[in-house]
Subunit: 246 residues, 2 copies
């Protein structure tokens, strides 16, 4: 892997071939990293949007709150993820964005986005690609919650986390760090934290995964995949340049 201190670029590198000029622009987009401490919210549902952030390090979570006080976690963005792309285009943010651990982010606003779209048309396509992948994950998530049993969807989610972390080099062989609480998982999976606990217990008993002390060890990837009917989300490397006239 061509090493690059920047997780966002590292991820893009696997998706598409970028010119030096494009990379330079993307680097210039990610300046003045901002530290955000654990628990702090940096985007709030209903508030003025038009801002987005690229996560440099740490774990975060984006969620919607419902009237009855419950939460639905949409995703747990990690290093290399671009959060709030939606709120750049909608006038108000439709979700809250909160730090699960201390984290570092860089801010991208609408003028920056516009500059990117007009000066580097290929990068516009790349953004669409990023959004498409994000939406594909959302749809998997939807199918999980709608049609999979608690144990299946938990297994599925763990595998998904694992793969996402791998892309940015944050997981070792079948083992990764994960600061999420069982309540976090419950809010993502549409389950109570109590039930998440029982499901994790079951997964441990079956010798599939152990999740303890913020550390996840997958013991039997094959069996876990089978249980979850997990398929890797289209992680095709696009060679856009060859198909276009840019």
């Amino acid at each position: 892997m061509r090493s690059d201190e920047n997780p966002f670029l590292r991820k893009l590198d696997k998706l598409v071939e970028l010119s030096e000029a494009e990379k330079a622009f993307l680097r210039s987009l990610q300046v003045k990293p901002m530290k955000v401490e654990r628990g702090r919210e940096i985007l709030r549902e209903g508030e003025n949007g038009n801002v987005s952030y690229i996560l440099q390090s740490g774990w975060s979570c984006s969620y919607k709150s419902l009237a009855n006080g419950e939460r639905q976690v949409i995703a747990f963005p990690i290093a290399g993820d671009w959060v709030g792309l939606r709120s750049l285009f909608l006038e108000t943010s439709d979700h809250t964005f909160k730090a699960v651990t201390d984290m570092e982010v860089t801010r991208v606003d609408m003028p920056g986005m516009q500059r990117m779209l007009s000066e580097f048309p290929l990068l516009g396509t790349v953004v669409l690609l990023i959004v498409a992948r994000e939406e594909a994950l959302l749809i998997e998530h939807l199918a999980s919650i709608g049609r999979r049993s608690a144990i299946e969807r938990t297994a599925h989610y763990i595998l998904e986390l694992f793969d996402r972390l791998r892309v940015v080099g944050l997981s070792h062989i079948e083992n990764f760090h994960c600061p999420l609480t069982q309540a976090h998982l419950g809010d993502a999976l549409g389950l109570s934290s109590v039930h998440v606990n029982r499901v994790l217990h079951e997964l441990r008993t079956r010798n599939l995964v152990t999740m303890r002390n913020h550390n996840v060890s997958i013991h039997d990837v094959g069996a876990l995949r089978e249980l979850a009917t997990y398929h890797v989300v289209a992680s095709v490397r696009l060679s856009l340049r060859q198909r276009t006239s840019f």
Copy 2:
């Protein structure tokens, strides 16, 4: 409303100001409408993507099938909706796209999209806006399935359908045509068709909505909104042109 026979343009007209050249291009993108008869699939999960369709008339449904034979309906696209934008960018389609009623579609492929992005940068932004709105709906849907009770999420979904139809002029005051079966609704809401039936019964009993003979009448929008804690998805009219240097 400036009338335009084309539902896609009619919808865009409410979202953003377009120049005549842009409109002309969008019209040229939607040529050779293709008739698709009820029940036919025109995109299949796992198959080669790189194709998308703009729906001109009729109802369709996009869904994922799971290993156990169940389905999760992602959305019921209607006239004016652009289906399969994701599969244009991912190499394989991650969902199946099927006609619920006879329908008409126009095909948009990757070259068309590329031409649009390079020749009409503002339209690239518009596509991002469309995708952002679509994703916002998905997230509402996710929250519904994850955290709302069966009756709440059914109510919510009916209101959403109502609003979507209104945007393209297909619903009259608190009354609209809807060809979906209870099984369709169940697959969208993560419920069994039997339970959908009971929920609809309850909604009728409470004098909130009646859904009969493919016809939905909302009797008490206010109460229904309250039950569903429904908020209209950011339907902001964007004046992009003023903010950009295009």
